[in-house]
């Protein structure tokens, strides 16, 4: 068992350097980032500023060449790959800009995916709704208040907006401590976007999850506790043009 050191900060990055290849330019140099528990942070940055790379580091998918990475109380630099996978499964939910769903699984099967990899989230879901499937259905119903289609359908028939909401349900199931959303509404039209944001915040307030929201569109900045610019986090990086 990995014993987390309890800290008020959920994400703590100190002086992190990372390059994707040994000989390439570092995408992240001397980066600093702190996010406290239960906070909703809007991360603003242009393309090429290293946003995706940062998310990969926070998610434990890649290991930085230099610096400290502390997520949900775990020192990622000390953990092995499998252990980081475990932490990610248990505590982090991701929403991407597009292509969030696995095409050969049904909507419900997509939503319950995290519970297949995390016992913690599985138990949380069962605690709240009795079974994983029921929890998934509950979340989907909340995110689709007017939805009238079967959740057993494959995802290929859904519109982009619908897909994004399924992705949100998947990120939220089992109430992980940290939700990371990478431009989740970029592909949505105005109405869908509003609906999405409203429902997302509603759920997060209920579960008390921390939200790290990455976007280049400032429209919804006001909903967040704090707004951080990538240039502050990643100061030394010359934007590759």
């Amino acid at each position: 068992m990995i014993e987390p050191v309890l800290k008020p900060t959920l994400i703590d990055l100190q002086d992190v350097d990372f390059a994707w290849h040994a000989k390439a330019q570092p995408a992240i140099k001397s980066a600093h980032l702190q996010v406290e528990k239960h906070k909703h942070v809007f991360l603003r940055g242009a393309s090429g500023s290293g946003k995706s790379t940062l998310l990969n580091i926070i998610g434990g998918i890649v290991t930085p060449q230099h610096g400290q990475v502390n997520i949900v109380g775990h020192d990622f630099c000390q953990l092995k790959g499998l252990q980081k996978d475990r932490v990610r499964a248990d505590h982090i939910g991701f929403i991407f800009q597009q292509f969030n769903l696995i095409p050969y699984l049904s909507i419900l099967e997509n939503v319950i995916l995290p519970c297949r990899f995390s016992k913690l989230r599985r138990d949380n879901a069962i605690k709240r709704s009795g079974s994983v499937l029921e929890e998934a259905t509950y979340l989907l119903n909340r995110l689709y208040p007017k939805g009238k289609f079967s959740f057993h359908r494959t995802t290929s028939e859904l519109s982009v907006g619908q897909q994004q909401r399924v992705a949100a349900a998947r990120a939220l199931i089992g109430q992980p401590q940290l939700i990371i959303a990478d431009e989740p509404t970029s592909s949505l039209d105005y109405d869908a976007r509003e609906a999405f944001m409203a429902l997302l915040f509603d759920e997060i307030k209920q579960s008390g999850s921390t939200l790290l929201y990455v976007s280049h569109d400032p429209t919804h900045q006001h909903l967040f506790d704090s707004v951080v610019d990538m240039s502050l986090i990643n100061p030394h990086l010359e934007l590759a043009l």
């Binding site: 890649v62 050969y104 995916l113």
Partner: protein, 416 residues
């Protein structure tokens, strides 16, 4: 097990390529196991035909050749042996029984064999089984014939039917003994040996057919009556020998091989059979190697399909990584897909094989006298299946490793 479920769903979504892959594996498995089945059953079919015979004697030729034409009715003798020599040897001390065999004629593709009446009580096959009559009895008159089960079936013969025998052993003959029809006096029970495909007549019958018959031309009609008394054959093709003591086999064989009056060959059926199997083993090994290459081709095809599809699955891998799947999970998923395809392919292949055997069994038995039973796979066949499964696992490692490498480069950046 989440991997198995994911693998199953993933394959179902890519049905068309999955089905093709399964089919190619199935066919290669059916071929591999089919070759093995034919090999084993050919061997036992041959072994099943010989029992209780100590020596086979014929004109001097090769031992395999003698075995083939005298017992299996495959091929022809190069020469006949004189009836006198046969009688002389049959009377030797230590000889318990002899069965003379006269070949060279046929009836609608089935061989006609002249022999003595003792044949029906003395000849053994399988594990010391003697012949039984399904109906009728052995020949009494000169022109009586006893036919095997397959002949009766194929040509729809019953007791009392007339048959015209042709000269030569081809499937057709333009020289028929039309004036000497035979009458079926008995039908034998099924034996699973070349006996089923033979018409048996008396030696006198063979002789009678050829009276006044030279080449393909009939000479003038005979004036003498055709009775057994004046129908002693001058020569026969071969004869089977049973001795009082098996220990004396060597001595008798030596005696016959050194027989002064005529060049003869006496063989031990068991030895000749092993020499035959030895000969066949070369062909068998070749067939086996070819089948293995076919299996290899099927596996390679599966590998190609899997690798080709990897690119469009990078998204899927990134999603799985984001929900907490480890690299091992990803690799496990791909290997499971490969193994699953192979398992289904093997099962389908077995089904194809058994269906094929069931369907072709009667045809093969009729044409080649080879009986292939529908039996469960033996140890060797199961071993082949296991090796195939292990091979599929190894094959699965290749796309698994590729996907792992891709995932390292991609992270969670879902490239479209």
């Amino acid at each position: 097990m989440k991997l198995r479920l994911l693998a199953k769903k993933s394959l179902i979504s890519r049905r068309s390529t999955a089905i093709l892959t399964i089919f190619s594996i199935a066919m290669s498995v059916a071929l591999l196991l089919g070759v093995e089945k034919v090999r084993v059953n050919a061997q036992s079919s041959f072994a099943n035909t010989i029992s209780g015979t100590d020596l086979i004697v014929g004109a001097r030729s090769g031992s395999i050749q003698l075995l083939l034409y005298s017992v299996f009715r495959i091929g022809d003798a190069t020469n006949n042996i004189s009836f006198k020599s046969y009688q002389d040897i049959a009377q030797q001390k230590g000889v318990k029984w002899t069965i003379p065999i006269s070949l060279g004629d046929s009836h609608r593709g089935f061989r006609v064999m002249g022999t003595s009446r003792d044949y029906f009580s003395v000849y053994q096959y399988g594990e010391k089984r003697t012949l039984e009559f399904a109906s009728g009895k052995q020949f009494e008159g000169v022109f009586d014939a006893v036919i095997g089960a397959e002949v009766a079936n194929a040509l729809n013969y019953a007791i009392g039917d007339q048959v015209i025998v042709s000269h030569g052993t081809g499937s057709a003959s333009f020289a028929q003994h039309k004036d000497k029809p035979f009458i079926i006096s008995g039908i034998l029970k099924h034996t699973g040996t070349p006996v089923d495909r033979t018409l048996h007549v008396s030696l006198a019958g063979i002789e009678a057919m050829h009276v006044n018959w030279q080449g393909a031309v009939k000479k003038r009609k005979a004036s003498k009556a055709l009775t057994e008394a004046n129908l002693q054959p001058e020569s026969i093709t071969a004869f089977l020998v049973g001795l009082d003591s098996k220990i004396a086999s060597f001595k008798m064989q030596r005696y016959i091989n050194e027989y002064k009056a005529e060049p003869l060959l006496a063989i031990f059926p068991g030895i000749a059979l092993y020499e035959l199997w030895d000969l066949m083993s070369v062909a068998e090994k070749a067939l086996l190697i070819i089948s293995m290459f076919v299996v290899l081709a099927a596996l390679t095809g599966m590998l190609a399909v899997s690798l080709a599809g990897l690119n469009e699955r990078r998204r899927e891998v990134a999603i799985l990584r984001s929900v907490g799947a480890s690299h091992w999970h990803i690799m496990g998923l791909l290997i499971t897909e490969t193994v699953l395809l192979t398992v289904v392919g093997i099962l389908l292949g077995l089904a194809l094989l058994y269906f094929g055997i069931w369907f072709a069994q009667p045809i093969i038995e009729k044409t080649y006298g080879l009986f292939i039973p529908v039996t469960a796979p033996n140890i060797r066949e199961l071993g082949m299946v296991c090796v195939l499964l292990i091979a599929s696992l190894i094959v699965g490692l290749v796309p698994a490793y590729r996907a792992y490498k891709n995932s390292l480069a991609d992270g969670m950046s879902i490239r479209s």
